[in-house]
């Protein structure tokens, strides 16, 4: 059997190292081509994961198992189920887009830039398919290093502050998780995540474990009130960095909820579900309002990300098939939509070197093709039916209404808010008369940008119109997860 998962981890990392090895600034073109080849190869090896995926079972598939550190019973154990497999595909696809998006834009230290993204991509694939606690942790932490460099080296004026804040914030959460992982090992004599699903734990142990895991993943998601690193990181990061942060890194936090928190400490999760739902609703509603008043486009999309991710955590803690599937669909959709939105801002920023909404106006007059694409993505961000944004939000709201009408009502407010802040921004930037001479000089998107946005547009529409193939992949695994979660461990 071909080790597709190992390939999906190590092909991008090897390509990244190759780029570092051969790439010098004077032959940047060479580095770009190697990077693109590596990224495409990395994506191609993940396609069999979907094509050969057995949707009838909730067991782990494509499993690879080898001894790694026998002294602690740590294994190189990877595998995917219906919950994780789609994120590996999403991540590998995004890597191709990000490499492509940085093609002409990045001119300094090109090889290092491309390598950072490729290595990061491999590490994130590792996070999604690791089934050993320490293996997961290694990927989870190692991922911070390339991101730190991406923000700090190629970022905006305040990049140092943003990079430090990003790193220390996320490290704070994950260090406590390390203690939790080791504690689970001392209880179960194993670092196998699937073993931990079965270990009985008292409430006195579950609550501290829950807090440790929750801090690690809530910072990553990010949930209100530990979200403050995200707007800074997004604003300062280069376009590619923002895309990867929004599309993949945030998903890792949410993924942690379903892989660790819900099944390992189910009783604590139930006990504290009200707390999480409250935080999620605050994120959805309050952060929605915060997004409304932003004057910087990237910041606005960053806050919209937090608000959308609030939906995801809300969906998880409703404990219903609809809720969890909706949350997962929302994660995928947000991966496409936020990536597309950040790329759109990037397209404008490359031309105008400004992210301020006030500096724009009437862009449609000079960039009609671009305006059409951005229209679609703005609609998807607002959750318009027919786009991918609708699927997840609708399912989660449905689940919320089933649980409690007012809960559903509060969640549905976001549809209005989301439409308000996204479309208002769109209106101010794109429509109206040409605002100033700089806008008048804009040139419409070129071939590279056109195809980049087309790929995302197809994904957004495809998932919105025909989500069944994706939902089918998740269905059995989600049902199994809910069964696991329903069993008390006391």
């Amino acid at each position: 059997m071909t080790p597709y998962l190992s390939l999906s981890i190590w092909v991008p990392i090897a390509a990244g190292l190759a780029v570092l090895g051969v790439g010098r600034d004077r032959d940047a073109a060479f580095a770009r081509w190697i990077a693109l080849t590596g990224a495409v190869a990395g994506f191609l090896v993940t396609i069999p994961l979907y094509a050969h995926f057995d949707t009838a079972t909730s067991a782990m598939q494509f499993v690879e198992y080898a001894s790694w550190i026998p002294r602690f019973g740590i294994h190189y154990h990877v595998g995917v189920d219906g919950i994780s497999v789609l994120f590996i595909l999403l991540n590998s696809l995004m890597t191709v887009l990000v490499v492509w998006a940085g093609w002409e834009v990045i001119t300094t230290r090109v090889a290092q830039y491309m390598a950072a993204f490729l290595i990061m991509s491999g590490l994130m694939n590792g996070v999604f398919c690791a089934l050993d606690g320490i293996l997961f942790y290694v990927f989870f932490e190692a991922m911070l290093i390339p991101m730190y460099l991406i923000i700090g080296v190629w970022g905006g004026p305040n990049r140092v502050y943003a990079a430090m804040k990003f790193f220390l914030y996320t490290l704070l959460g994950s260090l406590l998780m390390l203690v939790a992982l080791i504690y689970l090992y001392s209880v179960s004599e194993s670092f196998e995540i699937l073993e931990w699903y079965k270990v009985p734990l008292e409430m006195g142990a579950q609550i501290p474990l829950w807090i440790a895991f929750f801090l690690a993943f809530a910072v990553k998601v990010p949930m209100w009130p530990v979200h403050t690193w995200l707007p800074d990181a997004h604003v300062e990061a280069p376009t590619g960095g923002s895309v990867v942060l929004a599309a993949i890194t945030l998903k890792i936090g949410a993924y942690g909820f379903v892989r660790f928190i819900l099944p390992i400490v189910p009783d604590a999760s139930r006990y504290l579900s009200g707390f999480v739902i409250t935080l999620s609703l605050i994120a959805v509603v309050y952060i929605g309002f915060v997004a409304l008043v932003q004057t910087d486009m990237k910041k606005l999309i960053a806050y919209s990300s937090i608000s959308h991710m609030g939906f995801v955590t809300l969906g998880f803690f409703l404990y219903s098939q609809l809720g969890v599937e909706g949350a997962l669909a929302q994660m995928l959709s947000h991966g496409f939509v936020s990536a597309a939105m950040f790329l759109c801002v990037g397209v404008m920023y490359d031309r105008m070197h400004s992210r301020q909404i006030a500096d724009y106006g009437g862009v449609v007059n000079t960039m009609p093709k671009f305006a059409a694409f951005m229209m679609l993505f703005a609609m998807a961000n607002a959750g318009l039916p027919g786009t991918s944004g609708f699927v997840g939000e609708f399912l989660v709201i449905l689940a919320a209404v089933k649980a409690d009408f007012w809960l559903g009502f509060a969640a549905a407010v976001t549809l209005i808010l989301g439409a308000a802040y996204t479309l208002w921004m769109y209106k101010r930037v794109i429509f109206g008369p040409v605002a100033n001479a700089n806008v008048a000089k804009l040139t419409d998107i070129g071939r590279r940008e056109f195809w980049l946005l087309t790929v995302l547009a197809v994904a957004v529409l495809g998932m919105g119109l025909w989500p069944k193939p994706l939902i089918d992949v998740m269905h059995v695994s989600v049902a199994n997860l809910l069964q696991t979660v329903a069993r008390s461990k006391l």
């Binding site: 026998p70 730190y148 990049r159 990079a163 390390l178 203690v179």
Partner: protein, 482 residues
Amino acid sequence: MLADLNALAALPEIVVLTAAASILLIDLFVSDDRRHVSYWLTQLTLLVAVCVTLTTLRLDAVRAYHDLVIDDMLADFLRIACFVAVSLILFYSRSYLVARGMFRGEVFVLMLFALLGMQVMITGNNLLTLYLGLELMSLSLYALVASRRDHAQSTEAAMKYFVLGALASGMLLYGMSMIYGTTGSLDLDHVARAIFTRQASPGLLMLGLVFVVAGLAFKLAVVPFHMWVPDVYEGAPTPVTVLIGTAPKVAAFAMALRLLSSGLQGVSFDWQGMLIVLSVLSMILGNLIAISQTNVKRMLAYSTIANMGYMLLGLLTANRYGYSAAMFYVVTYALTSLASFGIVMLLSREGFESDRLDDFKGLNRRSPWWAFIMLLVMFSLAGLPPTVGFYAKFMVIEAAINDGFVWLAVVAVMTSLIGAFYYLRIVKLMYFDDPVETLPIVVRGDTQLVLSVNGLLLLVLGILPQQLIGLCAIALTQSNFP
């Protein structure tokens, strides 16, 4: 007669002693421009010592010279670690020494004598042997710190080191004398037996224990016995700084293990409490004060203090798993520390120490490779995967949790978050800032090779640590540790 001495057990010591004495003599007949003869002879000595240690490797523990020394796997392993460390220091510091007129025979000979002292500390099985080893090492180091006679800061550092070091030695000796007084023996095995059979007076033993722990804490550089560290690190010539910061820590670990575990395991409950206090204080203060440093050597000094605090986490569990974790920690810390000072020396040149943080600005522009190696070093010190520093922290934290000290583990990870800040700052300077220096970095070929291997080893061991973890576990199973 010679047969019961088991003289072979101390063969590496004999080799180093003979070679040190010979190099001292040979160096007299070597002219200044051929000083590299002494240098290579020193390197050769270290190589031979490693080979000798490997060929006389035995799985069981051998007591020799009427139980004065013990040769077990632990001793062999740590001796080799010290040999390698000193050899790497010589490789890294050659240009530095030449540029400052310190490329002299006495420096090499003093290094070898310090090494001999460490070897005795590692193999000692008797209170006096251990003390003699410690003194031999310390006296050589005092002289080395002062070896730049024309440099006021060096001399001041040497004085501080000497006065405080002598005080610590005095405390240690005082504690040892009390232990001798109450157990009636200097032999660690007899001491242990006397404690287990309750022949020792508890009060006197406790008093002795307190002094012994204080003396050890001074050598390990843990709070509150750390005051000398930053000044000595900053004032000493960089090759001596790295010598103080690496191999002696390994030797001090071995000595602590011999004294506390082989000798005083019977009162482990009491020294456990003391080590907890030392460990927590070191982790917190070491990391906090390091933040405000602007000199790399001072920053690394506080980093040493903090790291020794983490190492104590393993030691204080008072069981073999914890010891092997602490051993892994101290060995990998030495390796990481070597690389960090290696880079500092690499960037220095005649009349320029390169020991300010700002000297690292824009290193990625000047040399992506050395910036990358330093990046590995910093992330390893911060304990981030995929570097070996992660497993070091992982193992000591695991040992602490396994022994029921979850709160200590939480303190450890929270302080390492503080630590991450100042290690990251170096990465920030190297990668995010523009260079102030534009001079090319000129490095000898052999230094480049060795330093690159050293740096990459941090990554390789971070991905495949099982061999080293296994070695640390084996080293402790064959010895007389509980």
